[in-house]
């Protein structure tokens, strides 16, 4: 029995040949028998024919035999596929529309899924990533400032934590930054990470050649200067030369020795490090400073310790760290520590939310596409009603017919899916080019750099998703039409069609109406969502950031070679040279560009008021600027004066404050001349006087209100890292060459970097919001187009079915207008029902957008009513075309036909 089955399954052709031979043998015997019995009255060919007649239908027999043998399923499947392809060839228009619709739906879903997979699902590229935790310090709320639970570590505090803990196998401290790396004479500004010897073991990453940092190099501050290169940097700068070990390079001017090269693909936690610098080679003073919080802590749990079990232990350890280093400035304030699964921190909650919203949106588009294709199938099934009825009547099983129709829809879906691969590829390429560095960092989005849009690709998971989605799609849009088309109502369909068409059409028409309504409803939900996002983007575009970004060039110098004391003189010369460039009108320096986030913050002390209670000190953002910066950025002066060149070291200290600072801390009073101290820049012990008030500038993000800011004069408190701002008369890019020349003349070999028009920085600050809004809008437009197409299909089919009725109406005196009104009214009633359902759905679901919206309520009535108008317009257009066709019906022709 098993042998029999195997033979049938493995050698089907052999089996078929055997059957043929057996039947031939049978027929020849029967023919011989007949010829013999007829004693010569029968020719041998007549005998053969008689034998054939006696045998019955040859083909059916063979088919049945094969069906019995168990080949039936594959056989009929092959038949069905062939039949489906034949019938698609006969209806190229229908097929093209359906395939295109499905390709867009399936492809877009796969692209977005790839993004979700890379950003949210794919395991982190580290060994046993579920055992990795990120530990941060926590700061209680203070004054206006909210509590923080994501503060990085200082090295001394980390040492206390590491000594006290027993739940982790391995702990590491790292920090990512940018540095000038010089190999020979070639200097390059690139990403570096300070990392200790436990960094790679904790993550479970090996070096490809060479070694990791040793325990010796980790032992104490002032360790030897060694680096490990990224594979990319090694390829780029050393042509993958394996004798690179032991060679020298400089990082920000300091000499280092290369000891290893990382495996390809790993570029540190930041995802963009080219050089790992040994942790202990950093400036000793920074390392020994317990209040210099700049390092991230990653820890690997011991086997058997769950993250949940570790969290309370980490909180306890936070108390230990706080006891070792209590806040000396604010007594009684208790800092702590908090642990999170590393995987939970992989992307910013905003990115997670927007990706899931996009996935949901694109899923809705596919549903609409399915409804549309199902509709096309229903229309097609209606025209094939007779064919199907005939087949049912001659004994085709309903299950068999359903299977055949389902095969058709799955074949169509597979064609669509195949075309969808191209759409997905295009989409993924587009997504991967989103510059994660620019967009995510300028918006201060959190998350692990190693998990970025650059990691999005069409991998096997994505293809599996596409394949599953394709089959599912085929079944979803095929099932309803298949079941409906084969519903046995033989008599009606076999009788004269024209008599019966209206009766039999009724049920089909209701399903089609229902599908159109569902399409409209889903489209409304999507339109509402994208409308809100667009409105939010518009509001964001309308935000005045407090400065004029047009025609301003920004750039940075890396001046590690210039001593701090000679910096003002250097910058003086530079400003002078830049101001002399034709086309440059103003030049100013500031330590931290607007819309960048992460500017310094500190406390403001009123010298003429009693000391406030600990924890209630006013907090301010603090900025170092040159006198020309306000004019360069066109930040308006509201009161008093801005800095002059005379506000320098050795004279009375002064500060300029922002409008918000004045309103917050001197409500209803004149702040000019007030004595204050500022907790940074050497302004803590001295008294400075407020000399001016300027307009508010958004230093954080576009969508957060400016905090109170205080400006210090650069000449009174020099800083090493300053950004240059040059206002130009024309295109700021036009002076880049001249700026480079002047800089090179002043400081040969010092790289000028981050050279970008300010306008671009502003655009970057909105890039992610724009990306989400535009993608969602694209989906919504696709949804609207599909829904309109679906409505058009339903109405125009209805018109073709009602030709006769319309003919009678016209014959009885109905005007063209009333016919058009009748048909368009039908479309509008679909729109009203679908629109109402959609609005309910929209109100129920747009809440998920709340965290993505700026200054727009999820139930914004303006947006929702605009959507309704748009929808009705689309539906009127969609039903107008068939309505005009209906109006053109010639009654004579319609009634005769």
């Amino acid at each position: 029995m098993l042998r029999y089955r195997l033979r049938v399954l493995l050698r089907p052709e052999q089996h078929a040949r055997d059957l043929d031979e057996e039947i031939r043998f049978h027929l020849s015997l029967e023919a011989m028998q007949r010829e013999h019995a007829a004693r010569g009255t029968l020719t041998s060919s007549d005998a053969r024919w008689a034998a054939r007649r006696r045998f019955g239908n040859l083909t059916t027999t063979k088919e049945e035999a094969r069906h019995m043998a168990g080949l039936g399923f594959f056989d009929t499947a092959e038949q069905d596929v062939r039949f489906a392809l034949r019938s698609f060839r006969r209806a190229p228009g229908f097929t093209a529309v359906a395939i295109l619709t499905l390709a867009v739906g399936i492809g877009a879903n796969t692209a977005i899924f790839s993004a979700v997979n890379a950003m949210l699902l794919r395991p982190l590229p580290f060994r046993e990533p579920e055992r990795l935790m990120q530990v941060n310090l926590t700061v209680p709320p203070r004054g206006d400032a909210a509590p923080r639970d994501n503060l990085p570590w200082s090295y001394p505090k980390f040492v206390v934590f590491r000594r006290a803990q027993t739940i982790f196998d391995d702990l590491t401290l790292w920090a990512g930054t940018q540095a000038t790396v010089r190999v020979g004479t070639d200097a390059e500004r690139t990403g570096v990470e300070f990392a200790d010897g436990r960094y790679l073991p904790t993550l479970g990453v090996r070096t490809a050649i060479g070694r990791n940092f040793s325990a010796d190099e980790d032992a104490k501050p002032g360790g030897s200067r060694v680096v490990i290169l990224s594979d990319a940097f090694w390829q780029r700068r050393f042509n993958a030369d394996s004798s690179v070990l032991g060679r020298a390079l400089t990082v920000d001017g300091d000499p280092y020795t290369i000891v290893g090269v990382l495996r390809p693909g790993f570029r540190g936690m930041s995802g963009r490090a080219d050089v790992l610098v040994s942790f202990m080679s950093q400036d000793q003073q920074t390392l020994n400073e317990p209040w210099s919080h700049g390092y991230d802590l990653i820890a690997r749990l011991k086997p058997g310790v769950t993250p949940e079990a570790a969290k309370p232990v980490v909180r306890q350890l936070g108390v230990v760290v706080n006891n070792a280093y209590p806040n000396s400035e604010i007594k009684g304030e208790r800092w702590g520590a908090v642990g999170r699964e590393l995987n939970g921190t992989r992307v910013d909650p905003l990115v997670r939310r927007s990706l899931l919203v996009l996935l949901g949106a694109v899923g809705l588009v596919l549903l609409i596409a399915c409804a549309n294709v199902a509709n096309l199938f229903l229309v097609r099934a209606a025209s094939r009603r007779r064919e199907i009825a005939v087949r049912l009547a001659v004994g085709a099983g309903r299950a068999r017919l359903v299977r055949q129709l389902l095969t058709e829809s799955v074949v169509l879906a597979v064609l669509g899916g195949a075309a969808g691969v191209a759409v997905a590829w295009w989409g993924v390429t587009l997504l991967a080019t989103l510059n994660p560095v620019a967009t995510l960092r300028t918006q201060r989005l959190g998350g692990i750099g190693a998990v970025s849009f650059a990691a999005i690709r069409l991998d096997p998971t994505a293809f599996a998703f596409l394949a599953a989605l394709t089959v599912l799609t085929g079944l979803v849009f095929g099932l309803v039409p298949a079941l409906q088309a084969t519903r046995p109502s033989l008599t009606g369909d076999l009788k004269n069609e024209t008599e019966q068409s209206r009766l039999t059409g009724v049920r089909g028409l209701t399903s089609r109406n229902l599908l159109a309504i569902v399409e409209i409803a889903l489209a409304v939900v999507l339109l509402a969502g994208s409308g809100l996002m667009i409105k939010s983007l518009g509001k964001l575009l309308g935000v005045h950031p407090g400065f004029d970004a047009e025609r301003v060039l920004t750039m940075r110098f890396n001046l590690t070679d210039v001593g701090r004391d000679s910096l003002p003189a250097f910058y003086d010369q530079l400003i002078e040279r830049l101001e002399a460039i034709p086309g440059a009108t103003n030049v100013g320096l500031a330590d931290c560009p607007p819309l960048n986030g992460g500017c310094n913050g500190t406390e403001l002390i009123h010298r003429d008021r009693p000391k406030p209670m600990p924890g209630t000190e006013p907090s301010v953002g603090v900025h170092w600027v040159t006198p020309g910066w306000f004019a360069t950025m066109r930040v308006p002066l509201l009161e008093g004066r801005v800095f002059t060149r005379g506000d320098r070291i050795g004279v009375q200290k002064v500060v300029v404050i922002s409008e918000r600072t004045a309103k917050n801390y001197w409500p209803g009073q004149d702040p000019i001349g007030r004595p204050v101290s500022v907790g940074q820049g050497g302004f803590y012990d001295d008294t400075a006087y407020v000399v001016g008030v300027v307009g508010n500038v958004r230093f954080g993000t576009l969508d957060t209100l400016p905090v109170p800011d205080v400006y210090l004069s650069y000449y009174q408190s020099p800083r090493a890292r300053m950004m240059m701002f040059v206002r130009t008369a024309g295109d700021p890019r036009a002076i880049v060459g001249a700026v480079r020349r002047e800089a090179a003349a002043l400081a040969p070999g010092v790289p000028l970097y981050d050279v970008r028009p300010m306008r671009e920085r502003v655009a970057d600050a909105m890039a992610y919001a724009r990306f989400s809004a535009l993608l969602l809008a694209a989906f919504a437009v696709a949804a609207l187009a599909l829904a309109a197409l679906g409505t058009y299909g339903v109405i125009s089919f209805g018109v073709s079915q009602r030709r006769k009725e319309i003919g009678i109406r016209v014959a009885l005196g109905a005007t063209r207008t009333s016919v058009v009104r009748l048909i368009v009214g039908q479309g509008i009633s679909l729109a009203v029902i679908g629109g109402a359902m959609g609005l309910v759905g929209a109100l129920a679901t747009t809440g998920v957008l709340r965290s993505l919206l700026y200054d727009v309520a999820p139930s914004d009535p303006m947006t929702l009513s605009a959507i309704v108008v748009l929808l009705v317009a689309a539906v009127v257009v969609a039903s107008w075309i068939p309505a005009r066709r209906a109006a053109a019906v010639d009654p004579v022709e319609a009634l005769r036909g």
Partner: protein
């Protein structure tokens, strides 16, 4: 179709074809044509098999493991497929006969009462 459908000939009762095939094979291995001939012969030509339907039935019986087949030489010298009853097939035949008998008895009883 040349199905002999005179008044003296009966169409097979549904489901009895399998039983008849098994029965004809209970004596000796036979090829397809011979099975058809046997059934017609033994029933005095009352039962006619639509010959075509024989082969799907034989596939079915093989699939269930009640008969096996082997190619051999026929008396005329041509290659023919011979079907043999298996042990399970023999058991199945016993069951089908007793089922059939029960049905016959029941029908007879009904007919006598009327």
């Amino acid at each position: 179709m040349a199905k002999a459908s005179g008044p003296s000939k009966s169409e097979l009762l549904k489901g009895t074809l399998d039983m008849l095939i098994l029965q004809t094979l209970s004596g000796q291995p036979l090829h397809g044509y011979a099975i058809a001939q046997q059934i017609e012969l033994l029933s005095d030509a009352v039962l006619t098999v639509e010959q075509g339907s024989l082969y799907p039935a034989l596939e079915r019986l093989q699939k269930r493991g009640w008969v096996t087949s082997k190619w051999g030489a026929s008396p005329t010298g041509r290659r023919a497929r011979y079907y043999t009853l298996t042990a399970t097939g023999r058991r199945q035949l016993g069951e089908e006969i007793s089922d059939f008998d029960r049905v016959l008895v029941a029908i007879n009883r009904v007919m006598r009462r009327v």
